[in-house]
């Protein structure tokens, strides 16, 4: 195993794939000469040249759509959004074109493209720069949506996403780019749609994904100190969702809490709760609880950010609620 930063894991996935497949290009704001707004693509212009690492103007609708068009005609573009907040400027191209082209054309035209960049809050950035659209994209048939929580998953899943013949949304985190983790020395890929059991447990199933896995891990630790054994599941992708993994865990624990950063209405946690009552209703000893951001926009002030973001304590309390303890 080797220790790398999250941003390096993502970079390595792109580099390794680009070395063996010259139909792959990387396009986005500041990806080339500036080496990436968050230095994810550092050194890639030097290695692959300006034909393949392409700086764009601030034209999310344009370059997103150009990426889709290129994917329709033989390339495998990786489109970087400086953050997914800005993807909204061009979301039409993702939802109406990338996601639908294959089915609309009766299977004639595929769109092998990856849209990637950071999602979620990153400190005091205010309402427009602190949003989670995982559930928005996950709602759209035709897309796959990957939200890795650690370095090894990020690399293995991004390589798979790049090789996938379907459009894949790959959501990272500004606050995780500097985080270090171990990755295998040898080349590897990971399948999209398979959850990972982060920690086995017997009293309650805790489900999360992406950056919030850190909070879930801390909650799991805090709970074990109180003698509560939580089984922690990292979904890794939110379309498709590995419902089986969650259901199997609930069969063992009979209780479930879902943790995510997005707003509550029509979220991934709503979806999990719905599917679990359908799949394992008879196994549940308590209603499923969720911990999400509150039903309001993020604000700038430190006090409001603190009040907004879910924390370990909230997760521990939710677990205790489903345990009736």
């Amino acid at each position: 195993m080797r220790t790398v930063q999250f941003r390096e894991a993502i970079r390595e996935a792109m580099q390794e794939e680009m070395r063996v497949d010259d139909s792959i290009i990387l396009m986005g704001e500041e990806v080339a000469e500036y080496n990436g707004a968050y230095k994810v693509s550092k050194g890639m212009l030097d290695e692959f040249g300006e034909k393949r690492i392409i700086d764009t103007p601030i034209s999310e609708l344009g370059f997103g759509g150009i990426g889709v068009g290129a994917a329709m005609n033989g390339l495998r573009p990786i489109i970087e959004y400086m953050t997914f907040n800005f993807s909204l400027v061009g979301i039409d191209q993702i939802i109406n074109n990338a996601a639908k082209m294959y089915s609309m054309s009766g299977g004639q035209i595929k769109v092998p493209i990856v849209f990637r960049g950071p999602t979620g809050s990153a400190g005091q950035l205010g309402a427009t720069h602190s949003q989670n659209f995982e559930n928005w994209f996950a709602n759209t048939p035709g897309l796959k949506v990957v939200v890795p929580s650690n370095c090894a998953d990020a690399k293995g899943l991004l390589k798979t996403a790049i090789r996938d013949d379907n459009p894949v949304i790959f959501m990272e985190s500004e606050q995780m780019y500097g985080m270090k983790g171990e990755i295998p020395e040898i080349e590897y890929t990971l399948p999209i749609g398979k959850a990972r059991i982060d920690q086995e447990g017997s009293d309650v199933t805790l489900v999360s994904f992406g950056k919030f896995m850190r909070i879930a891990e801390n909650a799991t630790k805090a709970l074990s100190e109180e003698g509560i054994s939580a089984e922690l599941i990292d979904l890794r992708s939110v379309r498709p969702i590995d419902y089986e993994a969650v259901a199997n865990s609930i069969k063992k624990t009979n209780r479930c809490v879902v943790l995510e950063e997005a707003w509550p209405l029509a979220s991934i946690s709503s979806e999990i709760a719905y599917m679990m009552q359908e799949m394992v209703f008879d196994y549940l000893d308590a209603p499923i609880k969720r911990v999400t951001s509150p039903d309001v926009p993020m604000a700038y002030a430190q006090t409001l950010v603190d009040a907004y973001l879910p924390d370990t304590k909230e997760v521990v309390e939710a677990v205790k609620t489903v345990l009736y303890s």
Binding site: I58, L61, T128, D295, Y300, T303
Partner: protein, 329 residues
Amino acid sequence: MSKVSHSKSTYLEWYRLMVLIRKFELKSAQMYGQQKIRGFLHLYSGQEAVIAGTMSAIEKQDKLITAYRDHGHALAVGVSANECMAELYGKATGCTKGKGGSMHFFAADKNYFGGHGIVGGQIPLGAGIALADKYQENNAVTFCYMGDGAVRQGALHETFNMAMLWKLPVVFVVENNQYAMGTSVERTTNVLDLYKIGSAYEMPSEPIDGMDCEAVHESIEKAAKRAREGDGPTFLEMKTYRYRGHSMSDPGHYRTKEELKSFREDDPIGKVKVTILKKKYATEKELTALENEQDKLVEESVEFAENSPYPSADELHKDVYVGDYPFLK
């Protein structure tokens, strides 16, 4: 040099405002260093003449809207340094109660429709504000500011077309400081003269020396007159420069020291000062006194921000909807 002559009070007001903005931004940078201010902070230093030259040429009922580099515009329309600094601190006494932060200053009572964090988002909004003024026969003009980077958003082109078609009373002002983050204008386009983009829509368009209050004032005055007389929008390209990095985390390696130096030598504040002294509108001593007053305002704003309360947690659920709303718990 200006053909039109401006009054003594205009020069002194330009000087006061630009010095206030410069000192305010310097202080915010300092407070950012002390982590009193967090998140993204984009400073206006170097671009002051654009807003100063605007303010002397517009009327009270006129509207302003801009992007996230918005402190200068707020101070110009009369938001107090106290409210601005408190906002940067994220305090309840800030111009949006600590909700918007640096990128999202607002002051509806001063016709300031805000700072906007999504590049280009404010361009259609500016035209919409103008549409409402035209509809309501308010005789008001909207001044819609944007960076050179924002010109690359599709929203600009759609908006320009409709603004011309409907002859909206709006003036689009691009503050061309030559960089969008680390990307220079020439790396984003083959049309280096941004003002020429207006010609596709036959929108009157002009390049202006944005480091010069007189030039800015004259161009804004002319554009405002055209808009007010019902002849529609104008597109002004203010050629300017930002002295600092894009935001506090940007070291600015993409530009040379020489380039920065050459613009600093063309400093808008310095130029107005020379004119004031030459025309004997004020003495060196009087200008120093005026500078000290701005220093004092800025110092007081820090004290005000320090001593102000943070918004309480229940503010999160306030101002989200007009009226009651059954939030999910």
